[in-house]
Symmetry: C2
Subunit: 344 residues, 2 copies
Amino acid sequence: MKKVTMADVAKLANVSKSTVSQYLNKRYEYMSEETRKRIARAIEELGYQPNIIARSLKQKTTATIGVIVFNILHMLTIQVLHAIEEACQERGFHVIVCNTDDDPEKEKKYIEMLRAKQVDGLIIFPTGKNAEIYQKMVEERFPLIFVDRMVPGIKADAVLLDNKKAAALAVEYLAERGYQRIGVVAPPLVSHVIPRMERIEGFRQTLTEKGLPVIADYVVATEISSIQSELAKLFASGRPPQALFAINDLTLMEILHFVKNNGIHVPDDLALISIDDVPFADIYTPTLTTIAQPTFAMGKKAAERLFMQITKKQKHKPQIFRFPPTLIERKSVRQRGNHNDGRQ
Amino acid sequence: MKKVTMADVAKLANVSKSTVSQYLNKRYEYMSEETRKRIARAIEELGYQPNIIARSLKQKTTATIGVIVFNILHMLTIQVLHAIEEACQERGFHVIVCNTDDDPEKEKKYIEMLRAKQVDGLIIFPTGKNAEIYQKMVEERFPLIFVDRMVPGIKADAVLLDNKKAAALAVEYLAERGYQRIGVVAPPLVSHVIPRMERIEGFRQTLTEKGLPVIADYVVATEISSIQSELAKLFASGRPPQALFAINDLTLMEILHFVKNNGIHVPDDLALISIDDVPFADIYTPTLTTIAQPTFAMGKKAAERLFMQITKKQKHKPQIFRFPPTLIERKSVRQRGNHNDGRQ
DNA sequence: TTGTAAGCGTTATCAA
DNA sequence: TTGATAACGCTTACAA
């Protein structure tokens, strides 16, 4: 009762399917004004809508990309996704979004399904645990970009924050303001999650460069759910840190809960700086000094780079794009008095 | 060099394409152990991956749905999307996500493109301004669900918050605690954005029911960018409101900025309650009393209902699903002293 | 300037 | 238990 096809249009307009096809693809060059109008009328009359699936089958291209993320609720994910969607919109592409919850099995299934659906390329916020599959795509020259996390050993394009720099920014900022006992809070340090490692590495390194001690106890790296209790232990000890560096928005939230529940005053009792510019940074009291990621630029770059891969399917040497973090100075870190030697 | 097709598998396994097809669709009934193994081996050997596009063309079904949202950065959007994605995952469906920025033109283009791509159904957070197009889909019985906003006159399923109830909850809560001069802050009241209208309507109605005056000046409904200045005017006047009801998270943010910039103390100078349970509600000082939407349940319902439409393409009378809001009591509203008659 | 016909990679209907 | 063969709706040489 419903499906109008090109053949119907052709019949009604008294032309052949190919002519209709020409028309639809705007190849008007050799088409008489007359036929063009007849076709237009027929399409109108029948309410014809082309079937892109059929075209895709023939052309082997779907104008669709897949974006596989490990946490769709993450602010970073959403912002990058936004930029990707916008870039795709400009090019007439569509985005299939898949959420893995950081489960490699789901990721694997998604990659396979999306490739079966013939997406033209993939942007992945990887779990990091499907090396063989990533590798296979690289070998086949399938258009692929990693975002946020990269996977060691896989020669694919990646769009990342300059994580060491971000950590350095934080530590330098604190050090310059007289903080000496600086702690860091992070999720568990697992080796395949590169940004975490890089941030901690940058933290340690910068501390050393600044001549400050790296105190093992001040490195809190544990499940989000136990950050509160770990912090409690830390602050129950004799010498709690003077400042805390939150490696991302999730850990920042935990710290904020902790200070609220324990009546710790920021920045007087404890200075705070974090990576990820949370939306409430400047309504919180005190406003929060953060290190922002250029999320929109990152998403845009990922999309553009993917389009490049899609259009010119040459070899292209894999590139890692490191985006610079930006320190946004607010009030959660203040200048420490010089007379204070660090004791409470 | 790459594309392995069913024909290749068939040749290698020494069977016909149809047999391979049977195998892939797990119709093993009449298949000899022997051929089954041969096919399995051939698939393995060639690294064959089925082309779902071809299958879709034949079967007229893509196992893909489209989700068109008017603001992908909205927290509500993201949470509902999350639930939709999860429900789709369970059913082997994929989700194409499109962001319209509340632009009806974009929405129109997206709807057309997605239908051309033969998606099996559409979940739309509508701009509300493409009535003819929505109507056409309804008439064609194309699977369609509206979320968050509904469109008057369009007989389609919709998943919504019980907006009047939400507003009533807020006003009752304030009234019961002795607040009399209650204001509301909202984006511009345009008639096609139903939830806004419903919330304001609920606000007014409940105020009246509680015997409280509806003061025109206390209804701030304006562009987000000018909320601050409108609030400034309001508070510069002799009798500012004792409590403010933020119609959504965006307006809440503006109010929060305003109180911070003007040294207004919450809840002592001004009580605050809002729809949308923002992530920082319980780290803010004071913690924020909010009215939460059951976002996950809403997304799940939208997906399930869409699947129902997709599977049984019968008439089905359109239903509006109203989800109950939940008041989460925190500290941004306190009991007012009875001796206070409302004057400052 | 327009039409014919051969695909694209599946599935489905019959036969064998 | 398996195999021909014709769709599915479109694109694209090549002819006319």
